[in-house]
């Protein structure tokens, strides 16, 4: 059901030329020059150490790889990661939560 609502929301935002995060509330990430990443719309922290941070929402996951990673701010659905960020990868698993 959630997948259907998400798909409809995506189509509406595409049709109205909106930014997708307005209607879908998916995970979004903004990275500043590889030293700070602002993540929005997550629900769970799956793994954290100074080299890897894995977070998820529904069946979508996000893996941030770097060194000396610090979670400088955490809130209910957003966080700020600081450190040397090398890459950010999205993971998807159809129909099953991560």
């Amino acid at each position: 059901m959630a997948e259907i609502i998400n798909r409809i929301s995506r189509n509406i935002s595409k049709f109205l030329n909106f930014s997708p995060d307005i209607l879908t509330h998916d995970i979004s990430i903004t990275i500043h020059s590889g030293y700070q990443a602002i993540v929005d719309g997550y629900s769970k922290i799956l793994e954290y150490n100074d080299n890897i941070l894995r977070i998820s929402k529904g069946n979508t996951g996000l893996k941030i790889i770097g060194s000396n990673l610090i979670l400088s701010e955490i809130s209910q659905d957003g966080l700020i990661v600081e450190g040397n960020i090398y890459s950010a990868e999205f993971e998807k698993r159809g129909g099953q939560d991560l």
């Binding site: 769970k44 799956l46 979670l71 400088s72 955490i74 809130s75 209910q76 966080l79």
Partner: protein, 387 residues
């Protein structure tokens, strides 16, 4: 702002061991600065939330260890038995608060023609002076009085910023004389000289470059008679005529100079300094010819404790003016200064080609005779009286 708020409320830093992922998910509302150092995860939370975090850690099977606590609350805790410090801080805050209700300083800006002293006198009359209570001051009334007393003021505003008063003045500019260009007039020479250039703008020019002219000689005429006819044309003559002119000036100065000399008598005046207030301790008035020569500050002590109150002792020397024979060189310099001022005023916009000064001495005066060769405008308009 958030950092300041957290510092004011106080925060604790602790390490987390065990199932860190689950713990972070459960306590993410109240944590910040989560990091891993040497294999141990550290995090920070507000001190008031630490108990709540401990409960979560127990539920999730984690072990917490407090490392550090910082913030204003901890600093205050450190000094909680120092009563004097708290009393001193309270008194300081109280006086800071109270001092807001007293005038500390009055500043005047924007005045050129009107002296500061005259403005302060008016302000004094309406209670605007250092040390007075701000509730007694009616800014609108002072503005109105200043505008009424000084017609040179075009606009005035009295503003209060904390305990300082700023009087901003905008002076009126005098209306310039309207040049009448409609009436017929002649242009005559203001000085004797040799004409260098003639630029006629109206009328009929009677001279040209290289001509020698005398004072009051007609240079440009506003009247022209038409040949073979009795008809006369009147016009407004105007021209820019520059000529080489010899200008002379004579300045005199008395040989003796008024000099102030100490009489040997002294006057003492004591004030009490309390924060930014100066309270006079006696009612004697300082003489006009008195000059402050010494100033000393003495702290007031109560049972051997120095208070933040000082007694200021000012000593004034009384001077009398006497006439003494002036130094010849000094008077010469003063005369040269006067001459420079005259040149700036009288020969503004003119080119001085050469100058020579001669100093002469009479019984009581020293005289400077200046001779200058100047290139200046000599045109002077004179209206033609029509019958």
């Amino acid at each position: 702002m958030i950092v300041l708020l957290r510092w004011m409320l106080g925060w604790s830093e602790f390490s987390i061991e065990g199932n860190v992922g689950d713990f972070l998910n459960a306590a993410k509302k109240v944590l910040w600065m989560v990091r891993k150092q040497n294999g141990i995860v550290f995090a920070r939370c507000l001190t008031k939330n630490y108990k709540y975090i401990c409960d979560i850690a127990k539920k999730k099977g984690c072990c917490l260890k407090k490392y550090d606590s910082k913030g204003l609350t901890y600093i205050l805790k450190k000094y909680k038995f120092r009563l004097g410090l708290a009393v001193g801080a309270s008194i300081f805050i109280f006086f800071m608060f109270i001092s807001n209700f007293f005038v500390c300083e009055v500043k005047v800006s924007g005045n050129i023609q009107i002296d500061d002293e005259k403005i302060f006198q008016v302000c004094d009359k309406f209670g605007l002076h250092a040390g007075n209570i701000v509730f007694n001051i009616d800014e609108k009334q002072i503005e109105f009085e200043l505008e009424k007393l000084f017609p040179q003021i075009a606009w005035v505003s009295v503003n209060r910023v904390a305990s300082k008063y700023y009087i901003e003045i905008s002076e009126a500019r005098e209306k310039p004389d309207i040049i009448d260009k409609s009436g017929p007039c002649n242009v005559t020479a203001a000085f004797d000289g040799e004409i260098i250039s003639v630029e006629p703008y109206g009328g009929f020019s009677l001279v040209e470059a290289g001509d020698f002219v005398t004072k009051n000689q007609l240079l440009v005429s506003g009247i022209q008679e038409i040949e073979n006819s009795n008809e006369v044309i009147y016009s407004h003559a105007d021209a820019k005529i520059i000529a080489k002119v010899e200008r002379n000036n004579e300045i005199r100065r008395q040989k003796f100079i008024a000099r102030s000399q100490k009489t040997g008598t002294r006057q003492n005046k004591k004030n009490l300094l309390l924060f930014c207030f100066k309270i006079p301790m006696d009612f004697q008035k300082i003489k006009e010819n008195a000059v402050k020569s010494e100033e000393s500050l003495e702290a007031v002590e109560l049972f051997g404790i120095r208070l933040p109150i000082f007694v200021q002792n000012n000593i004034y020397d009384i001077y009398d003016e006497i006439n003494v024979d002036g130094d010849f060189e000094q008077i010469r310099r003063m005369l040269a200064n006067d001459q420079q001022k005259w040149e700036l005023k009288e020969l503004a916009g003119s080119k001085i080609v050469s100058r020579s000064y001669i100093f002469e001495e009479s019984d009581s005066e020293l005289i400077l005779k200046a001779k200058l060769n100047v290139e200046q405008r000599i045109d002077e308009k004179h209206p033609i009286q029509m019958q």
